[in-house]
Amino acid sequence: MQHTTDTTGPSHALRIRNLSKSFGQTQALDGVSFDIRAGAVHGLLGGNGSGKSTLIKALAGVQTAEHGGEIEFLGTKVSADHMTPELARSLGLRFVHQNPAVFPAMTVAENIAIGAKFPTTAGKIRWKELHTHAQELLDRFEIAAKADDIVGDLRQAEQTMIAIARALQDADKNAVSALVLDEPTASLPDHEVDILLDAVRRFAAEGHTIIYVSHRLDEVIQLTDDVTILRDGHHVVTRPTEGLSETDLIELIVGHSLEKSYASAHAKAPVATTQPRLEVRNLAGGPLQDVSFDVAPGEVLGIAGLLGSGRTEILRILFGDLAHEGGSIALDGQPVAFKEVREGMKAGVALVPEDRNREGVFQGLSVRHNLSIADLGRFARRGRINGKAERKEALRSVANYRIKTADDAALISSLSGGNQQKVVMARWLRRKPKLLLLDEPTQGVDVGAREDLYASIRGSLKDGMSVIAVSSDFDELAQICDRVIVLRDGRITDELSGQDINRQTMTHLVLASSGKDAA
């Protein structure tokens, strides 16, 4: 048995004391203190920017919290600014992240061994022993897989469970450890969620303490014994889950109760004063089902939704990067069905993608070439690029979009993230699109660059450009959107306009199982 735990009454596995962390002006965590009971499933809740990710990173030692904070696990006190990943691990804290790092091409046994150690004799892997060990783990956690199954062939829920089993394998059956699960069901198909929840219950039944982070409140109520709620970096409450409804949780997360002043999606018909720029009817594809909405010329429509809600898929379908399975799209009254990106671009659609490094920027190329890559045809005269015209246009973009660079011939990799994003934005705005699609447009962008980006979007709106913006930052949606639709599990559940577009309302609606029940 563990030392020091069984003396006091309801034993606490984890005590968090006075945890603080700030990034520049932003106070991500502000003196957060709470306890987590041993052997309990403890829900950790909060909206975007509430500080829960920072809290988990501080526990894992990935980001050290400020001096003065303390983390106590099973009687061992650690000063928060001394936490390291190695220390967290040796204490018995285990973490499984949103998209667990499994190796899909390898077997279950190999995946499990990679987390710990391959058993070897003189450098040769003792496969038999490895398989026995893996099979024991699979049996122990009742995972429906065999040690020699290829992980990529398994269902996603099972892949996540294997990642959990891997994290817990070296924990002695008798020793108690704590497992942090960060939104483990966010990217799971609905029918697989229950499989994972059952598995989490079994881990808890073994005596492990589980810290469960999720946006799915129904799951939290079903699964957890206690909950802790954070808001704007502050600790709101830690209490037993029993007796709490989804509405109660939402009120705690948002901060106050909400009058139902917003209009529901179906109640409000689109105002047909002018021809809409975009008409989407009964769109289906990926997680999307029966999605219908309009966007007017010069309008900014926001899409609020959680990861896996289908928000990115809408943009990809409209851009021509993803085929839709049903429904129709009309641009300026003309029905369209783009088969590839080029067709979407030709019709006047532009997309600023979510992952700047992977999908937006050409790191090895200059600012100028990064700017002109999507409209080279404009500078080509009889097959040759008019270098002078291209350079002039590049300098114009650098000035107009306030791109901070030494020279337009400088490599884009020499720019800050925010300025790289301005280049990607400028690349598309230069094409004068009819419809600009923004996927997390200011992720990892500092405040100053953010304002510049908004200003450049506003400039094009006056020319009649329409915008659809997806963002996890609801304050951002509140700032830039004329109207916001709420997407949940692939369906539009609500529509907001005017004063209703604020972080609290959006957080509320995104978390609620359905807009109507919640209020």
Binding site: D321, V341, R342, V361, G364, A374, I385, G387, D407, R427
Partner: protein, 344 residues
């Protein structure tokens, strides 16, 4: 709105800013390093062998021998800019030479038709390589290595290992001794081909798209570039250029030999391509850099042989040059993009 104001007061002084202002010394050394090294090699060997190295005849010989390798190296850099290797350019060169020679010698076809057949054969091989890499998703080194091996077998089978040297057009076979104002014709042809390649790679939308695909294929796709087609075309261009090199090879050597198809033959070209990427525009494959690389290697080897070094040293030198050049350009790339990946 602030934006509107900015548009009106478009800063004209920014437009007047001179390009590439203020070269730093380190940057200059980096950009011109290989040229300086080439000059150093010339000075050293001229001092060591003033009567054999520092002669018009020797430089003429270098300018006659290197063009084939230079065109081969230019063929290599086209797919390299798109992030792909074509190790079959040597074999393609060999097959194109045999096809051209055979058309003249065995089928009595006119020179021009024979040249078209040789270059066409190269283009066709390029199309096969491109299909395998771009549309079947095969790793380019492995895919083109397989094709190269097949081509080697076909050439050996067709020729029985005997060079085709009779019935060739003297216009082609005498080209190595022709010159215009003292400049070898082969060198002039190389310069023309290099200029065309430079134009394609730097002055056209195609060249820009290829560089974009090589830099980040996913970003390129989302910028509306047909990435697969661009990669496919880069292999067709490489194959065609290898075909041109094959035709020139007949001119340089006077016959079409079946022994050219191995990997070792293209090693100097590969070394030159990567050496070239460390100079001129460091971190980028350029035609100019590649030519400097070719003549640096060719001059050094010429000098070494005149100093009386054993022939096996040449292999060691070429091999070492490849590895060093690739390692160096990987370091330069790390500086440009901030990360050094494990070699693929």
């Amino acid at each position: 709105m602030t934006l509107a104001k900015d548009t009106q007061t478009l800063p004209t002084q920014a437009l007047k800013k001179p390009a590439g202002q203020g070269f730093k010394r380190t940057e200059f050394i980096e950009r011109a390093g290989l040229i300086l090294l080439l000059l150093l090699v010339i000075v050293v060997f001229s001092g060591l062998r003033p009567n054999t190295f520092a002669t018009y005849a020797n430089f003429r010989s270098i300018a006659t021998v290197q063009p084939v390798m230079a065109v081969t190296a230019i063929a290599l850099i086209v797919p390299l800019i798109g992030g792909r290797f074509d190790v079959s350019v040597g074999a393609t060169l060999g097959l194109s030479a045999i096809a051209t020679a055979s058309a003249m010698s065995h089928f009595d076809l006119p020179l021009v038709v024979s040249i078209v057949i040789g270059i066409g054969a190269g283009a066709l091989i390029g199309a096969i390589n491109g299909t395998i890499v771009a549309y079947l998703g095969v790793n380019s080194i492995i895919g083109t290595l397989g094709i190269a091996t097949i081509l080697g077998g076909i050439v050996t089978g067709y020729t029985n290992g005997i060079p085709i040297s009779s019935g060739l057009s003297p216009v082609l076979t005498n080209i190595s001794i022709q010159s215009v104002f003292g400049i070898p014709v082969l060198f002039i042809l190389m310069a023309l081909i290099a200029a065309a390649a430079w134009f394609l790679l730097t002055q056209t939308p195609y060249g820009r798209n290829l560089a974009a695909v090589g830099s980040n294929a996913e970003s390129a796709r989302l910028a509306g570039i047909r990435t697969k087609r661009v990669v496919m075309q880069s292999f067709v261009i490489a194959g065609s250029l290898a075909g041109v090199a094959g035709v020139l090879q007949i001119g340089a050597q006077g016959n079409a030999g079946p022994q050219l198809v191995g990997i070792t033959f293209i090693l100097p070209a590969l070394a030159a391509a990567f050496l070239g990427a460390t100079t001129w525009e460091p971190g980028k494959f350029t035609v100019q850099g590649t030519l400097i690389g070719i003549f640096f290697l060719g001059t050094t080897i010429s000098g070494l042989s005149l100093v009386g070094i054993q022939p096996w040293i040449t292999d060691v030198f070429n091999g070492a040059a490849v590895v060093l050049a690739i390692a160096l350009s990987a370091q330069l790339r790390r500086r440009r993009t901030g990360s050094l990946e494990i070699g693929s």
